[in-house]
């Protein structure tokens, strides 16, 4: 085809990717709006990218799985379903993919928020090998990711243990059927024997990347729930100091205030 390749296997796609300057095309919902010119590598015929599988440690979502397919799949965790159900409208969810959300490296991608908070890994493949990259090392800044020119995003590995935890999720957008996130929050929490065993919190706030601060989380993990509750204000204050927001669709002050309110609700819910 003119200005396009439509391989039917991953191996064929990787060979084309290595040999030619091509733009990977997944669902098209961002790429076509951006109006990028070039030669497209169409990935929709590759069955290997369109599967959801489960092993002992991970739920693996293929890069070509659409949000609609994920919502209908029994193995996709409820938190991920909730997040991607809020993406735009049915026509976008029918086309948009997990790989596309990552390839686009938007700092407002709803599926990527859940990948951040759950410590998901991104599997990248080239004809010479593969890499497993943590989400926060894959997304480098708004619109920039760590994908090499000869690689494709193959699948997202969601750690099963993270989705056994309790969660909070909330998205604040414009109207439901457009709903590019102004702010979205996801938090995971678990306790064992009266101690905090898992606490992670990630925020979309138009900040260049999703915000998550592991060092702050680690100050609460391992504490008794009572002690963690005592540390709540310190945690919130430290988190707030690190939210430095530039210009965005809505004001930075609003985004920061709402982010901290959502974080406070999360901590109140689980720590009391």
């Amino acid at each position: 085809m003119v200005n396009g390749y439509a391989p039917t296997s991953l191996q064929e796609a990787l060979t084309i990717r290595a040999a030619h300057a091509v733009i990977p095309y997944a669902g098209g919902t961002d790429l076509m709006v951006q109006g990028r010119k070039g030669v497209f590598l169409f990935l929709n015929k590759i069955d290997e990218l369109r599967r959801v599988t489960v092993d002992d440690d991970y739920i693996r979502i293929g890069a070509g799985v659409t949000f609609t397919e994920a919502i209908a799949h029994p193995d996709v965790p409820a938190l991920m379903k909730e997040a991607v159900s809020g993406i735009a409208a049915p026509a976008i969810r029918n086309a948009g993919t997990f790989g596309g959300n990552l390839g686009n490296a938007s700092d407002k991608a709803d599926s990527v928020l859940i990948e951040y908070v759950s410590d998901a890994l991104i599997r990248l493949q080239s004809i010479t090998g593969e890499r497993l990259v943590p989400t926060d090392q894959f997304i480098l800044s708004r619109g920039v990711n760590a994908l090499h020119d000869d690689e494709l995003i193959v699948e997202v590995l969601l750690p099963r243990a993270a989705f056994d935890a309790q969660y909070s999720y909330l998205k604040v957008g414009g109207r439901n059927a457009l709903a590019i996130s102004h702010i979205a929050f996801a938090g995971l929490y678990d306790s064992e024997g009266g101690r905090v065993s898992r606490l992670s919190a990630a925020v979309i706030a138009d900040a260049g990347t999703v915000l998550r601060f592991r060092d702050l989380e680690q100050q609460l993990v391992g504490l008794s729930v009572d002690d963690a509750r005592q540390q709540k204000e310190i945690f919130l204050s430290a988190f707030g100091e690190r939210i430095v927001l530039g210009r965005g669709r809505v004001s930075g002050e609003y985004r920061k205030a709402v982010s901290l309110n959502l974080l406070r609700d999360f901590l109140d819910r689980f720590l009391g």
Binding site: M1, G4, A89, A91, I92
Partner: protein, 157 residues
């Protein structure tokens, strides 16, 4: 160079143009499917919605290379079906059409809702049509028309 082959409204077609061209533009300019409206070109208004392998998509956000080997349905094809007739009658009876610009997309969105769920609730219809913007009707008449079509379909969906 292999052309792009796909099925448009139940007819095999061959497209030998640019694989990065928008499906929206090719449907209107090459295949004269003028029911597919150009509203926003950003995937936000639903005026260009078509069925791709039976799933609702915005034609402005689909490149031609992605339709190779697939089935595309626009209202030019859908209007030949009994299902269309039921929807058309319901839309007419409840005055669900004013300027009409959004209606081809609305009708295909309705088909998408009903083909997955023949007896949707009002809320399910609203979710199904949520990506289709209408600036005239205030939506209620359209939602009621889809509900009416579902009740009078007699097993069509």
């Amino acid at each position: 160079m292999e052309p792009i082959r796909f099925i448009l409204n139940e007819t095999d077609v061959t497209y030998d143009g640019d694989a990065t061209a928008r499906l929206l533009d090719v449907l209107r300019d090459t295949y004269h499917c003028k029911s597919v409206k150009c509203g926003c070109k950003e995937g936000e208004c639903g005026a260009c919605a078509v069925l791709l392998d039976g799933a609702l998509v915005n034609a402005c956000c689909v490149a031609m290379g992605a339709v190779d080997g697939r089935r595309v349905m626009t209202v030019e094809g859908y209007r030949e079906t009994e299902r269309f007739q039921v929807l058309s009658d319901a839309f007419a009876e409840l005055t669900a059409v004013q300027c009409g610009f959004c209606i081809p997309g609305m009708v295909l969105a309705a088909e998408s809702v009903l083909s997955h769920n023949p007896h949707p609730t009002e809320q399910e219809i609203r979710v199904g049509l949520s990506g289709n913007i209408c600036r005239c009707t205030g939506y209620n008449a359209i939602v009621n028309a889809v509900k009416k079509a579902s009740e009078e379909a007699n097993g069509l969906w």
